[in-house]
């Protein structure tokens, strides 16, 4: 019996997604037993709703990181969609779906530009996406001028507020996104190619993988998912403002790494990012419960990420 438990633990230690999932279960169990109200259905549902946003941003981030890149513009793309969508939604369309489509097209286009810069200009992705974020920041100041914009788009509000069958529609969206991304990574040629690209770009290119096209597609996808998350956030908040997307940049990267995906690319899966996002939201919630000062909260958050990394994110020598 004891041996069996040990062997399960050993398997988990070698399987980062499972390990992260176990950690989430452990934290939820411990918190439900010790904190009043934590284990209530409403609270857990709320945590999942928050995780859905991070999970969707991190979906694109996972794909890009697996390929050996990184997208530092997701925060800015979220802000762009959250601010532009209310302004661009045609009032003639009562469903609001056309506004949704326009916003997603813009987000995807921005991602595509990231990919084009990285692929054609050979700018390192970290710089390309950073420069893109700087551009967008400037752009937003012209468009929004610093004030918040409220949303009336029906589709967006439904996405952010509705709970068909008691499940928040944001969580449903996340489940759909997860299914799509997992299929892409594990069941399509593109998934196998992006993992190969992340582990050895040169050998992949010489094996006939079109690096340029892969980059364009994946950065566009990252832009698309960031835009989707931006719409969800807008629906949950009912208004968009400059800076609304900023917190999601670092958390999306942290969720990916906590899920056991190598930051250097070539190894990992979205199956780890999912519990990674939940773990991140849960720990943040717990830190808020402790009622500490902002400084202490920040320290606890950083130390937790570091501690979790020690368990799951070890890398070989570079």
């Amino acid at each position: 019996m004891e041996q069996k438990a040990v062997s399960i633990l050993k398997t988990a230690l070698r399987n980062p997604p499972l390990l992260t999932l176990l950690l989430v279960a452990l934290v939820w169990l411990a918190a439900s037993l010790t904190l009043r109200g934590f284990g209530a259905y409403g609270h857990l549902r709320y945590l999942l709703e928050l995780s859905a946003v991070i999970g969707i941003v991190a979906a694109g981030q996972t794909l890009v990181i697996l390929m050996g890149g990184i997208d530092l513009s997701v925060g800015a793309i979220i802000t762009v969609t959250a601010i532009l969508l209310p302004l661009l939604s045609p009032s003639a369309d009562p469903t609001g779906l056309s506004g949704l489509a326009i916003a997603l097209a813009i987000a995807t286009g921005i991602g595509f530009l990231n990919g084009a810069g990285a692929a054609y200009l050979r700018v390192p992705p970290i710089i390309m996406t950073l420069a893109m974020a700087t551009f967008l920041q400037g752009l937003l100041v012209i468009v929004a001028g610093g004030s918040a914009v409220s949303v009336t788009n029906a589709a967006v509000l439904w996405l952010g507020q509705a709970r068909p069958l008691g499940v928040p529609s944001g969580v449903m969206l996340w489940i759909a996104v997860s299914a799509v991304v997992l299929v892409i990574i594990h069941r399509t040629p593109l998934g196998a190619r992006l993992l190969a690209l992340g582990a050895n770009p040169l050998a992949s290119r010489l094996s006939g993988i079109n690096v340029t096209r892969s980059m364009l597609v994946l950065y566009a996808m990252s832009g698309f998912f960031a835009g989707l998350a931006g719409i969800l956030i807008l629906g949950m908040n009912r208004q968009g403002y400059v800076g609304i997307g900023e917190p999601y940049l670092l958390t999306s990267i942290a969720a990916v790494v906590l899920g056991g995906t190598s930051i250097l690319g070539g190894r990992g899966t979205y199956a780890g990012t999912i519990p990674g996002a939940i773990l991140l939201v849960t720990t943040t919630a717990l830190i808020t419960v402790v009622n500490a000062s902002p400084g202490w909260r920040s320290i606890m958050f950083g130390s937790l990420i570091l501690a979790l990394l020690l368990i799951s994110g070890r890398e070989g020598r570079r």
Partner: protein, 502 residues
């Protein structure tokens, strides 16, 4: 005759990894003033033995002796202090630093805690002269060709004034000229009383330089004897454990098919203004000194490097290929020389490496077909006799098996043109022979094989024609009846052989 005391010695060393024994009671003794050859196939335990002798690994049991005294806790620093220097296959240089700084790295002469550049300059130019490096000492190593870097690596080892020098495949990227300098240098060092250990897959070098040989097979010493009186056949027998037969398959008249490649004035990278043509079923060799544009020629053909041509017909398409994808679609495949960096995705499994080029072809409705993939992998593994569980990372395989994977992955595409860049570099004899036989059978089936090789005997025995490169141009094309080692080397050195049409 008085028996000389060995400078460095391993006695009954055992070493295993993860319960897998690699060395099973190995003895070796390096004596001053002797060039000692270490032979063995890949996976025989040579690298492990070198790592034990240089302190990078510690034996599970047995002892390492320096000057006859057993050392208990041997580590790299202790080995360096004892005057043991190793020139590994993987270079230990820093591209941005100068030749002199690289040579002194880790052993800088100091004054007041700072590097004494005057002393460094004096001592570095001494060792550079020994290895024939004429470049300015302040040249960044990144500006040098691979062969010159190898010489810097050797100079770096000499800088530490070693008493024991271990050379692991030192000539694999050297030109004939540089290899000549190296062999004269080895003679000199031996005369100066240094103990040398020489590892190479090139038996003619071993026979020319070494006087004593230790042969490893599966972690056991099968021979430890003077080299005098053993011929190449005998050496191979010792390594393989049975009669080797002929390394090269017999040459046969090619059945020439349609012309697949016709180039006029083809340029790409270092390769300039090359005229070249080849037909289905041929094996065409590409030779010459290292770094004369041969590799760029192959990469340009393959669409991996920008190229231009006055006239180009490649596998039925006119004009140079613009991308690797286009080349694959036209039926070209390329097996690179540096399989670890360019050929394989090392941390990924054997299966994913084998599938990489054909992922798109065996997908159904955009999704991967697991069953078909499994069948394909099983077929390839069986056909090329690749050893090992296919879910294991390819980096766990020996060099020879890795090379088979790098070659096998192209077979599902049934390429009509196979471009090979030094396919047997660092590959053991048994695998070499398997690869040669495979190439022959591909050619028989009508594949055009273009074989770039730094191993001249390979070109001599396998090829129907050899095009020799010099300074980026195709300086000579030798027909079958004129191919010989002398003719290839001569053409590379600019001596025009009789009857050759450039």
């Amino acid at each position: 005759m008085m028996k000389t005391l060995p400078l460095l010695e391993a006695r009954q060393v055992f070493k295993g990894f993860f319960g897998n024994p690699v060395l099973k009671g190995v003895d070796i003794a390096l004596e001053p003033g002797r060039v000692h050859a270490l032979l063995g196939e890949n996976g025989a335990g040579k690298s492990t033995l070198i790592n034990l002798l240089s302190g990078a690994l510690r034996p599970d049991s047995g002892e390492i002796r320096v000057d006859g005294v057993p050392v208990s806790r041997f580590h790299p620093a202790a080995a360096r202090a004892a005057g043991i220097a190793v020139v590994q296959q993987e270079l230990s240089l820093t591209a941005e630093l100068s030749i002199a700084e690289n040579i002194g790295l880790g052993a800088f002469p100091r004054r007041f805690g700072l590097i004494d550049y005057a002393a460094l300059s004096a001592r570095a130019s001494e060792v550079c002269e020994l290895v024939g490096l004429t470049e300015s000492l302040c040249t960044p190593v990144g500006d040098l060709s691979l062969g010159r870097r190898q010489m810097v690596e050797i100079a770096k080892a000499l800088f530490r004034k070693p008493r024991v020098l271990i050379l692991d495949e030192p000539t694999s990227s050297l030109s004939a000229h540089e290899a000549g300098i190296l062999s004269r240098l080895i003679e000199r060092l031996r005369g100066a009383g240094i103990a040398l250990l020489y590892i190479s897959h090139r038996l003619n070098e071993v026979q020319a330089l070494c006087s004593h040989v230790t042969v490893l097979k599966d972690g056991v010493v099968t021979a430890d004897q003077p080299l005098a009186g053993i011929d190449a056949q005998g050496l191979v027998r010792l390594m393989v454990g049975r009669d080797a037969g002929d390394l090269f398959p017999a040459w046969e008249l090619p059945r020439r098919g349609e012309e697949l490649i016709r180039l006029r004035g083809f340029s790409s990278g270092l390769a300039r203004d090359v005229d070249f043509s080849a037909s289905a079923g041929e094996i065409v060799g590409i030779g010459g000194l290292v770094g004369q544009g041969q590799e760029d020629f192959l990469l340009g053909l393959y669409g991996a490097m920008g190229s231009s041509a006055r006239e180009a017909v490649i596998a039925g398409r006119s004009g140079p290929l613009k991308s690797v994808e286009a080349a694959n679609a036209a039926g070209l495949a390329y097996v690179p020389a540096d399989r670890k960096r360019e050929g394989l995705v090392l941390p990924h499994s054997i299966a994913s490496n084998l599938l990489l080029p054909s992922l798109g072809r065996i997908a159904k409705l955009g999704l991967r077909d697991r069953g078909a993939e499994r069948n394909l992998v099983a077929r390839l593994v069986k056909r090329l006799r690749i050893k090992g569980e296919t879910s294991r990372p390819v980096q766990a395989l020996s060099g020879g098996n890795q090379q088979k994977v790098a070659l096998a992955k192209w077979l599902p595409l049934a390429p009509s043109v196979l471009l090979l860049n030094d396919p047997t570099r660092g590959v053991d004899i048994e695998t070499k022979r398997e690869i040669y036989l495979m190439l022959k059978s591909f050619a028989r089936e009508g594949t055009l094989i273009i074989l770039l090789s730094s191993d001249t005997p390979e070109l001599v025995h396998l090829c129907d024609r050899v095009t020799v490169f010099g300074e980026g141009r195709a300086v000579a094309t030798l027909p079958r009846e004129l191919i010989s080692e002398e003719a290839i080397v001569g053409a590379a050195m600019g001596i025009n052989p009789k009857g050759s049409a450039p």
